[in-house]
């Protein structure tokens, strides 16, 4: 099975979070608990749903990821944008990887307000 992690938005501030191995919620996808088997994913989802029922997070679901450790990234563009921030605003992002901000013609966005 492809690797999966559990994501949600934190109730209090709405920020994107991931379920960690300790059962808490972290902002960095690279620090999330990775499930590589169906059974592990089901357990992780149950933990996530319990946190939703406990009103800590909203909208729990699983996403596919690639790689491990600091290089770990969600597979879909939508989830990469959730993990790393809007591609138009490097100053509000969560990654230093410039590829995330590069437009498809190679142009880097101007930092906002530097017009």
């Amino acid at each position: 099975m492809a690797k999966h992690v559990i994501t949600a938005n934190r109730l209090i501030d709405g920020l994107v979070v991931y379920l960690s191995a300790s059962g808490g919620w972290v902002e960095a996808v690279s620090e999330s608990l990775v499930a590589a088997a169906e059974a592990a994913l089901e357990v992780a989802l149950e933990t996530g749903r319990a946190a939703e029922a406990g009103n800590h997070v909203v909208g729990v679901y699983e996403i596919e990821v690639d790689g491990s450790g600091p290089a770990m990234a969600p597979v879909s563009l939508r989830e990469r944008i959730r993990a790393f921030g809007p591609t138009t605003h490097p100053e509000f992002g969560r990654t230093t990887e410039s590829g995330h901000y590069q437009h498809s013609d190679g142009v880097e966005p101007v930092r906002f307000g530097d017009a």
């Binding site: 501030d13 709405g14 406990g54 959730r82 138009t88 017009a115």
Partner: protein
């Protein structure tokens, strides 16, 4: 401008207190997300990709400097230092924290603002021509009527749970700058044969997955009946509009399925019953609201300011800015100034807190303390003396708000797209930024002339792509961003819905494709033709041939 009376103040403050309690109950766990969601939406709070998003209403796009300073303060204190003007004359904050949102609403209430009915299946913030009260071609200020509609529709108990959201736009001029034909109800101020002022009422327009041009339901409605007639339309819709299918629930589908004649008869029947009741507008009430929108104290000035005419002659860049960003005013010696919030390569419609503060100061100094937000995501100074234009232009340059591109190819409407929006399939803003950079040369843009470019990141069409001369719709093709191109849309009095020209383009190719379309126009145009005119004259074939046979045969 309109000022809250005691009822408005009490209503908004009650709502803040009610919402504060709801948020507290949500955080304590007393309310589940399912229970809380409709409550937060009634106050404009969404949960988007990265965070909560708060949409604040700016009724008919009119703001005072004081209100704009408050928005700057909110951006700085509760958000990441910026806000985003939307395509419905609202502002969105992209990063508020749930527990701080009651404080934001309390701060807004201090300056007579709120977020009520900026979401949900209600009558949404009423929009109007951003040049209301000052346009040279205007019959009457549409904001008088937009304000009357706002008061009637705010917390209207009968229309709090409509089949779907409901949008009303008003124009006071024959030249439609408010896209009234693409609203659930469009109201056009007009004169009848006897010279009396009243309204043409249109119904059933909209964009989204089923774009429709509104149809006229009443050619002429006397002023005093505006609310009773709107109430009759809403009642018919509320009763027979579909609730079984979200995608068929807008009034445009009802009008399309039943036909305008049948809907018109039902509305007239209902209206006959209520037209002389409590909703009939007394003349003194109309006069009371009208007084809020009385023209400011203009100075008596010559029609053309000689000093500015000379400056314009000397400074080519200023002349270029005047050509695209300055408009005729109904008052001699004054001008309407568009502030472009589309600087080269920047996200359309984003402004920083510092820019908002600076604009508030400039509006105070040069525009009688008032500005407007346009549905095209720009700002307007409605009351600028021609003799101040040169100085204002220099100051707007310092703020990055004087790009001479209003109405040109880089003045792009774009929805937030996949960078923010939970519904989007593809990004909109980065494509807008790339097109803006591709056409950065302002001389070239001015040579191309008026070209309405609009981008949506999904079929909901918040970026109005259906009514772009060139429209782009982002689609997801096996995980990759692709963009479908439509041509020939128009939002105004010559309304049309754009037509899909062929297979979608990859993100890598789409900007080249747009440039090729512009090239075809430049090659084929006749004297005085805009892109839209040339397209309407020659049809889609030359554009299609260039894209799919000559340029991108591999892409198709």
């Amino acid at each position: 401008m309109y000022r809250y009376d005691e009822f408005d103040h009490a209503l908004v403050q009650d709502r803040v207190a009610q919402y504060r309690d709801q948020v507290a109950r949500r955080i304590s766990g007393e309310l589940s997300e399912e229970q809380f969601r409709p409550l937060r939406l009634m106050n404009g709070l969404y949960l988007q990709l990265h965070a909560y998003m708060l949409r604040v209403a700016i009724p008919y796009g009119t703001l005072s400097s004081k209100q704009l300073r408050k928005l700057a303060h909110i951006a700085r204190t509760y958000d990441k230092g910026y806000g985003h003007w939307t395509t419905r004359q609202n502002i969105q904050f992209n990063w508020p924290k749930l527990d701080e949102t009651p404080d934001i609403l309390a701060e807004l209430a201090e300056v007579e603002m709120h977020a009520i009915q900026t979401s949900g299946n209600t009558i949404r913030n009423v929009t109007a021509d951003a040049y209301g009260g000052v346009a040279a071609d205007e019959i009457e200020d549409p904001r008088i009527w937009a304000e009357i509609i706002r008061q009637w529709s705010t917390l209207h108990p009968e229309f709090s749970f409509l089949p779907r959201k409901f949008k009303i736009a008003v124009t006071g001029a024959p030249h439609d700058r408010a896209a009234v034909r693409f609203h659930d109800i469009g109201v056009i101020v007009k004169r009848n044969w006897d010279g009396e002022i009243g309204f043409e009422v249109l119904v059933g327009g909209g964009l989204g997955r089923t774009p429709m041009i509104a149809k006229t339901i009443r050619q002429f409605l006397p002023k005093q009946h505006l609310l009773s007639y709107l109430e009759a339309i809403l009642r018919v819709y509320n009763l027979i509009g579909r609730r079984d299918n979200k995608y068929k629930a807008r009034i445009k589908i009802m009008v399309h399925e039943l036909g305008i004649d049948e809907v018109g008869e039902m509305v007239e029947d209902e209206w006959e019953r209520i037209k002389t009741g409590e909703l009939e507008l007394p003349a003194d009430e109309i006069a009371r609201i009208r007084a809020y929108f009385a023209p400011p104290e203009y100075e008596a000035l010559p029609a053309e300011d000689p000093g500015f005419a000379a400056k314009r002659f000397e400074d080519r860049a200023c002349a270029q800015w005047v050509r695209s960003n300055v408009n005729h005013h109904k008052q001699p010696g004054y001008a309407i100034v568009d502030l472009s919030v589309k600087p080269e390569g920047q996200p359309p419609g984003d402004v920083t807190d510092a820019q908002m503060d600076a604009v508030a100061d400039l509006a105070e100094a040069y525009s009688m303390d008032e500005l407007r937000v346009t549905h095209e995501q720009n700002l307007v100074f409605p009351y600028v003396k021609q003799s101040d234009l040169y100085e204002l232009w220099r100051k707007l340059i310092e703020q990055g708000l004087a790009t001479a591109n209003v109405g040109l190819v880089s003045d792009i409407i774009a929805c937030p797209g996949l960078d923010y929006c939970a519904l989007a399939n593809a990004r909109s803003i980065p494509v807008a930024q790339r097109i803006s950079k591709r056409f950065a040369d302002l001389d070239r843009q001015h040579d191309i002339g008026e070209l309405r470019m609009k981008i949506s990141g999904c079929i909901n069409a918040c970026g109005h792509h259906h009514v772009g001369h060139i429209g782009l719709l982002g689609v997801d093709r096996r995980g990759e961003e692709y963009y479908q191109i439509t041509l020939g849309g128009a939002p105004g009095e010559d309304a049309s819905v754009g037509k899909i020209i062929g297979p979608a383009f990859s993100s890598g190719d789409v900007v080249d494709a747009v440039e090729e379309l512009v090239n075809v126009y430049v090659e084929k145009r006749r004297e005085g033709e805009r892109f839209l005119d040339t397209y309407r004259r020659i049809g889609e074939e030359p554009f299609k041939t260039r894209l799919y046979e000559e340029r991108f045969h591999a892409a198709a």
